[in-house]
């Protein structure tokens, strides 16, 4: 099976490349007959492209969902922030040791209303990815988040978080600055808030790294995002001593949005443009924005203590067991 989104999407990407070339040729062509012939060819290949995409998307299994959630062209947090909010003003630093570029946040306006926005941030190219540490937060990232959450509480601003991380940073430095404590404390502070919190899983919901900023009143999840207690490759390595069995592990872990919805662990699964959010980022952001507004509208009907209680109760219910 394909190991990356690009590998999986190869037939489609090749077709699209071809279409681009034909289109360029058509645009340059001065002979009307030849021009028409090329245009027809473009349309023909577009139909083929749509058919291929249709098959690929409708046949997506858990592993393809993993690849899609990790897809390079997928919109990232700052793309959604740009599309959904105005007046975003980034705040930096944990007031302790540094500013973690793997997470961005600050006040913004959602249809005029002040909110605190925060999310993991991936990079588009190698340089950006390195700068963002592949969206793997260090302790200072969670402590920046805590600072922003507490500010939101003081100034009665709802919080919106975007979740998109493979995992928290597992390095020696992170360990020695208390990555575990930072994740736990970020969750703890979220549970202390009396302002509404909505989280949206937009890509990879990678275990502790994800839940650290997702202890929300409502958790929304995009159709092609994943949410998992362990990366499928890691799970496969433990279970079958073979990281290559990621696809099997992905199936076993039930990490798709649909599964999370069925288990009642996310509140809404948000449809994406056909083929993935990157195929129409404007539409994708619009869907997310409407859903966030709806969630906030529902939470606005509660008083501050009720909001806090609602969040507690939401997570309190989680867990499947029987009583004998």
């Amino acid at each position: 099976m394909a190991k990356t989104w690009k590998e999986w999407m190869k037939p489609l990407l090749e077709l699209e490349e071809l279409i681009e070339k034909l289109r360029a040729a058509a645009a340059k062509e001065t002979d009307p007959v030849e021009h028409e012939r090329l245009e027809a060819k473009v349309h023909d290949f577009e139909r083929r492209r749509d058919a291929v995409l249709n098959v690929m998307i409708t046949r997506m299994g858990p592993w393809e969902e993993v690849l899609m959630a990790r897809a390079e062209p997928r919109p990232y947090t700052l793309d959604y922030v740009d599309a959904m909010f105005t007046e975003f003003t980034e705040l930096a630093g944990d007031r302790r040791v540094g500013d973690d570029k793997a997470v961005v946040g600050g006040p913004a306006r959602l249809d005029e209303r002040p909110v605190m926005v925060l999310g993991h941030q991936k990079g588009r190219n190698l340089q950006e990815r390195t700068f963002r540490n592949f969206a793997m937060c260090k302790p200072e990232g969670y402590r920046k988040a805590i600072r922003l959450f507490e500010m939101a509480e003081r100034f009665r601003m709802p919080v919106v978080t975007f979740v998109d991380t493979p995992a928290a940073d597992p390095g020696v430095e992170s360990e020695s600055r208390g990555i575990s404590e930072a994740i736990a404390d970020s969750m703890r502070v979220m549970f202390s808030l009396t302002v509404p919190v909505v989280s949206v899983v937009i890509g990879e919901g990678g275990s502790g790294g994800a839940i650290g900023i997702a202890a929300a009143n409502e958790v929304l999840m995009q159709e092609h995002a994943i949410y998992s207690v362990i990366p499928p490759e890691g799970c496969a390595a433990i279970l079958w001593r073979d990281p290559a069995k990621g696809p099997q592990a992905a199936a076993a872990l039930r990490l798709t949005a649909r599964s999370a919805g069925e288990l009642g662990l996310v509140d809404r699964v948000l449809p994406e443009p056909f083929g993935g959010a990157h195929r129409d980022p404007v539409e994708a952001a619009d869907t997310v924005k409407r859903a966030v507004l709806e969630s906030l509208a529902a939470l606005d009907r509660m008083g501050p203590n009720e909001v806090k209680r609602h969040r507690y109760d939401r997570f309190r219910r989680m867990g499947v067991y029987e009583t004998v």
């Binding site: 928290a168 597992p170 703890r188 839940i211 872990l253 009583t323």
Partner: protein, 274 residues
């Protein structure tokens, strides 16, 4: 201490660390701490209860909770049944009430022998109930951690136990109920990154393994050289993550003092409750 869980049969045992031969009777009297090198061997939950709480005061709660297999995860049922058979436990955590030097506490004790102490729905629920019991009955909460992390086989449900237990710790904070965690060997990953790390006071047993990621992953991930004692209790103390490393022999006394001082304000409320 009972001899039920002795590591080897017969009158002698071998220290897992220094390989010296120890008299079994002495080893058990020393709470499974090696008399030569001081290595703290892992305890079963019963041994922990006996070593820590006032004799006869432990009362188990939430005994009816049973794990199911919500994801129908490969081999989970079989592994779980085997763990039950091996340990006599229903899952990796035992909850209850007890006394330490006369003082009432709510308790959660993890046992590494049950599926590596991993936290799934049942363990998460028991820890949460222990914390909520502290709030409801106005007594400090003491949790013994011993876990490799979240229980993979329950998928996202296990991840949510991190949030659920942490929420309960925040409830304790806002209601003024002290929560003391004891990191025993090992305290890792999803357990460390949730309720364990946000305890008011954290004690650790000497040389306990304590960390977020597997040491191999951590060391691979960065150019920074890991110190020799990376991911041990001693490393955590130096990093400011742990309040004290306490010898098992002194743990009861240490906990008693803390529970007494931090929980004293609950007493008048307790009197009101009855």
């Amino acid at each position: 201490m009972s001899m039920g869980q002795s590591p080897t049969p017969g009158r002698f045992v071998q220290c897992a660390n220094c390989r010296k031969t120890l008299f079994l009777a002495e080893f058990l009297r020393d709470l499974k701490v090696c008399g030569h090198c001081g290595h703290h061997h892992r305890l079963t939950w019963q041994e922990r209860v006996e070593a820590t709480f006032d004799p006869g005061t432990f009362e188990e709660t939430d005994t009816g909770l049973r794990s199911v297999d919500p994801l129908e995860f490969p081999e989970y049922r079989e592994k779980h049944v085997a763990a039950m058979a091996k340990t006599g436990m229903a899952d990796s955590v035992v909850g209850g009430r007890a006394r330490i030097e006369g003082r009432r506490v709510s308790v959660a004790v993890a046992d590494f022998h049950f599926m590596g102490g991993s936290m799934g729905s049942v363990a998460g629920e028991k820890v949460t109930r222990a914390l909520e019991r502290g709030c409801d009955e106005l007594m400090p909460v003491v949790a013994f951690c011993a876990s490799g992390g979240a229980r993979m086989q329950e998928g996202l449900l296990s991840l949510m136990q991190m949030a659920k237990t942490t929420a309960a710790v925040e409830r304790c904070r806002s209601e003024g109920v002290p929560f003391i965690a004891v990191f025993t060997d090992p305290t890792m990953a999803g357990v460390l990154a949730s309720y364990a790390s946000v305890a008011d006071v954290i004690l650790a047993e000497p040389r306990a393994l304590v960390g977020f990621a597997g040491a191999r992953v951590s060391k691979q991930a960065q150019v920074v050289k890991a110190p020799d004692d990376f991911q041990t209790a001693e490393f955590c103390l130096r990093a400011g993550m742990v309040d004290a490393i306490v010898h098992r022999r002194e743990l009861r006394d240490h906990l008693g003092r803390l529970v007494g001082a931090l929980g004293a304000h609950l007493a008048p409320k307790e009197a009101l409750v009855g």
